[in-house]
Amino acid sequence: MRPGGRPARFAFALAFTLALASVVGGCASWTETPFVREASDAASTLSAAAELLEASHTERLTGSYVQGAFLDLEESISGLDSELPQLEGRPDDATVKSLADELRTTVSILRMPCLDSSCDWQGQLMKLRDTSDAFTAQLPAP
């Protein structure tokens, strides 16, 4: 095998990646647990939903935009309540159950958001924010 062949290139690539990783990462570990990843995504989705719902009631967004957005947001977290108890890195059972219960309520909000003043949109907004905060509380401190 001549110098500079495939093994040499692979070794170079690996060394470069590890060097880059050590420079940019310092002592940071490589990955988050599946539970932390899902909790972080759920917190983000619900926070976005809260922003969208508030924007629609302060005339910064149309109802159809929020409706279309909520359909996609709902899809991204639907089924997570039943996945939570199986995820690696999850907290104790009581916390998981509480999170799953809260999530089920908020998914129903995403399915039927209150887009006019005839219903309790502020209650929905508070529920979305509270559930987002509950998931954020499960993330490791920065």
Binding site: R9, A13, T31, S44, T45, A48, E59, L61, G68, D72
Partner: protein
């Protein structure tokens, strides 16, 4: 005057056509999660794509042959099957992601589920590739794509990046457990921006427009200015995501989340602008991907090809267009999230990048194709650098995808 107009049009279309579902997804995820810490990846990818686009246009202008023709002739049909197969897999994923992106944009405008709108998006792409002239396909969505400059206006409207964000440019905020995600997004940015389909499409477009030695000026201006201006919109999306999404704890994991970047500064108009930008950029990318795939196969097998030819004159080429739109629609209908598809597509593109880029090194130094316009020392050095990066990205992209949880 005609030349100035052609250059201006080329630059505008390249600017408007820079973003697609992959670039929007990766740029927003970068800004929302790591501040300005991945700006370097976007700048690196932009310089690489500028050089590669210029080379693919120069190859066609000087030889009258497309990049796909060149690979097949110079390396043989068996070798050509390698980039062809990898392009078919990667681009089918990207096409499904772009059709999904178009549908979500329509969903934001109408309030209807994006799944229901998928066939509408596919039909629109079909009608355009079947009926519209090449100039409309090339320029139409891209000129609308110029609306993406609203992202730059959004950064200005938000008062620019705050002082505390600036240090993240050289000191990325990577928290414990986020290293794999950081590196994965860097690889995905490179895969999303240095898309080989863009090179095949650009080269085939130059063939459709019968470029010659006299087109070299237009080629250089389009590559450098168009891609340069285009990357400004992607960079602005990184900045705007860092300003708007990160403080609200939003990671940009879905397209409606990313839309908030324009809702915050511009309200209702911002929401509509985001939907229109998403729709036109994904439409433009869908058209480019479908045509690029069909060009690749038709040119590889030596079939009659050409978007401007009547379907009966290039029957197999036109059949391919229908097959790939059907394939993209099928993948989208399986229910995968377009944003996930865009990330997988970008990661897979990164994996196969060296296969598509390696032939450049040989072709761009072959005087039978380039005559007196073969690559100089700088061009070869730059190409060598891009290839080295593409090898690294190829080796790490899939392990990082798995480590970061996709």
């Amino acid at each position: 005057m005609k030349k100035v107009f052609a250059i201006a049009l080329g630059v505008m279309t390249a600017t408007g056509g820079f973003l697609d579902a992959g670039a929007i997804t990766t740029a927003a995820a970068a800004g929302a999660n790591f501040g300005l810490g991945l700006v370097w990846a976007m700048v690196l990818a932009t310089v690489a794509v500028m050089l590669l686009v210029e080379m693919s246009g120069r190859l066609t202008a000087m030889s009258g042959k497309t990049y796909a023709d060149g690979i097949r002739e110079r390396f043989g049909f068996k070798f050509y099957l390698l980039p062809l197969t990898s392009e078919v897999v990667a681009n089918s994923l990207l096409l499904a992601a772009d059709l999904g992106g178009m549908s979500i944009a329509l969903a934001l405008l109408t309030g209807i589920s994006w799944h229901v709108l998928l066939p509408v998006s596919a039909m629109l792409v079909f009608v355009m590739v079947w009926r519209a002239p090449f100039s409309l396909i090339e320029n139409g969505p891209s000129l609308f794509g110029l609306l993406a400059l609203a992202v730059v206006a959004g950064v200005l409207a938000m008062g620019g990046p705050p002082a505390e964000l600036v240090p993240t440019l050289w000191q990325p905020p990577i928290e414990d457990g986020q290293l794999a995600e950081y590196l994965f997004i860097a690889a995905a940015i490179l895969g999303a921006v240095i898309s080989p389909y863009l090179l095949y499409f650009y080269s085939s477009g130059a063939g459709e427009e019968r470029w010659s030695r006299r087109s070299l000026g237009i080629n250089r201006a389009t590559a450098v200015l168009g891609m340069g201006f285009g990357s400004v919109t992607a960079l602005a999306l990184i900045v705007l995501s860092a300003i708007v999404l990160a403080p609200a704890g939003i990671s940009g994991g879905t397209l409606p989340e990313i839309g908030l970047t324009l809702v915050q500064p511009f309200g209702t108009i911002g929401g509509i602008l985001f939907a229109v930008i998403l729709f036109t950029t994904c439409l433009g990318a869908s058209l480019e991907v479908v045509l690029s795939l069909s060009y690749n196969i038709a040119q590889g097998f030596g079939w009659e090809w050409g978007e401007t030819k009547k379907p009966a004159k290039a029957a197999r080429f036109n059949l391919l267009l229908i097959v790939f739109i059907g394939l993209g629609l099928g993948l989208s209908l399986l229910g995968s999230d377009p944003l996930q598809l865009a990330l997988f597509g970008s990661a897979f593109t990164a994996l196969v990048l060296p296969i598509s880029l390696l032939p450049f090194l040989v072709l761009m130094n072959d005087p039978d194709y380039l005559h007196d316009r073969v690559n100089g020392a700088f061009g070869n050095l730059a190409l060598g650098g891009i290839l080295a990066i593409s090898f690294v990205v190829a080796v790490v992209s899939i392990p990082l995808l798995i480590l970061s949880g996709g």
